[in-house]
Subunit: 242 residues, 2 copies
């Protein structure tokens, strides 16, 4: 069992062991979340199946909720993989945006039931699991950067007013789609995919329409609103701007 061959760098075996325990708990959790859903996955069951005591699970993860933060990360990484080729080949903005959204829904599908139950916790503003919480900042930032990439590497020119805020707006749009998907009980999330097809058109149209003089003040307000939103979520948000 204790196969730790050639501990390179003289790294302490202790750390390794702790890391393995942590990983075992994490893997078991994510598997159970997928297999039996959020609520049926009790901390006792996680502990039992990970061959660890109940208290030990709490040593590594402060609460059941905190286990979910890990899910966010994993889900995002899977999404990135699913998007890669599309982002490398496609240059049309509409196609890029639609593709990324469809991929998000598709990769999330195994976790559909889980996500529904999870949402209950994630929607709580005081919860560290809220997508707006400081704890979620890393994943949120990564996701926003993905949105920026969709736009930047496309052939569409974005009106200047919109440019700095557009990735955040698109991230909000993604959150909206996910919200819809969570409620969507249709076969294969077919309705959500149709929703994407229809709303992507609007969004792309709006991006160009933002140029229109009539709409200028509107756009200005909308942009400043998202800034307000951001302030609301994080009173002090230390973010590396790139």
């Amino acid at each position: 069992m204790n196969d730790t061959p050639s501990p390179d760098d003289g790294a302490p075996v202790k750390v390794r062991k702790a890391e393995r325990t942590r990983q075992r708990i994490l893997d078991t959790s994510l598997r159970l979340f997928r297999e039996v859903g959020y609520e049926a996955t009790t901390m006792r069951r996680i502990a039992t199946e990970a061959e660890v005591s109940l208290g030990n699970a709490y040593y590594y993860f402060r609460s059941k909720d905190h286990l979910i933060q890990e899910y966010y990360g994993q889900a995002h990484r899977e999404h990135l993989v699913a998007c890669r080729s599309l982002l490398e080949e496609e240059t049309d903005l509409r196609a890029r945006l639609a593709g990324v959204l469809h991929a998000k829904i598709a990769t999330s599908e195994p976790y559909h039931r889980f996500a529904g139950q999870l949402f209950r916790t994630a929607a709580d503003p005081t919860s560290p699991l809220s997508p707006f919480s400081p704890e979620s900042a890393p994943v949120r930032t990564e996701a926003t950067e993905l949105m920026a990439r969709i736009v930047d590497e496309s052939e569409t020119r974005v009106p200047k007013v919109l440019r700095p805020e557009l990735p955040n707006l698109l991230w909000l749009y993604l959150m909206g789609i996910i919200l819809f998907w969570i409620h969507d009980a249709s076969e294969g999330a077919e309705r959500t995919h149709r929703l994407i097809e229809r709303t992507v058109d609007i969004v792309v149209r709006l991006i160009s329409l933002a140029r229109l003089p009539v709409l200028r003040p509107l756009v200005q307000t909308a942009v400043s609103l998202t800034q307000e939103l951001r302030q609301l979520a994080a009173p002090a948000l230390p973010e590396a701007s790139s």
Copy 2:
């Protein structure tokens, strides 16, 4: 104690007693929600303070969540009272809309902390407490009718495309404001009130802009989207159309 003078109509005293017990539990719950928040209000405490056994509370209310449905109703009634004079006197759409929204936030203020915790449950799509759930339909309908009244009795003409769907759109807008308010920790919800002032302008502007030929297709799509949303929430929604 047993003061049931002149049981008119020969109504069975039994029913009266049951009704009183139910009311006592309900009053105690709402008071505790206000005073100590959602989570600190345990079913045991409600039972104790209502001078009733724990099981008895469950006889009248299927779960802690169901107690909240009652809160929705009460909150809406308080909102109506707070709006009355404004709706009778004011005819300008912007002023009417802003007034109603400000009133909603103001009357909800005592429940701010409670609402934050509550939201955790209410955001769960499978929860009967979701504002989109069938169980919430009565209050939702009433609130939507209030939105219709804001528009109908104002002096502003609404473009035909928008008319049937506008109350629902405004209700969604209200939900958005409440969502912001829940996250808003500023003194006296001052930020939410500012948000209302700014967004009301946009909304009113959008209502007139909906006439613009350029935007026609956009508006069309937006309208049909809300219909989609409605379908999502309630697979079979029996609603009295007036």
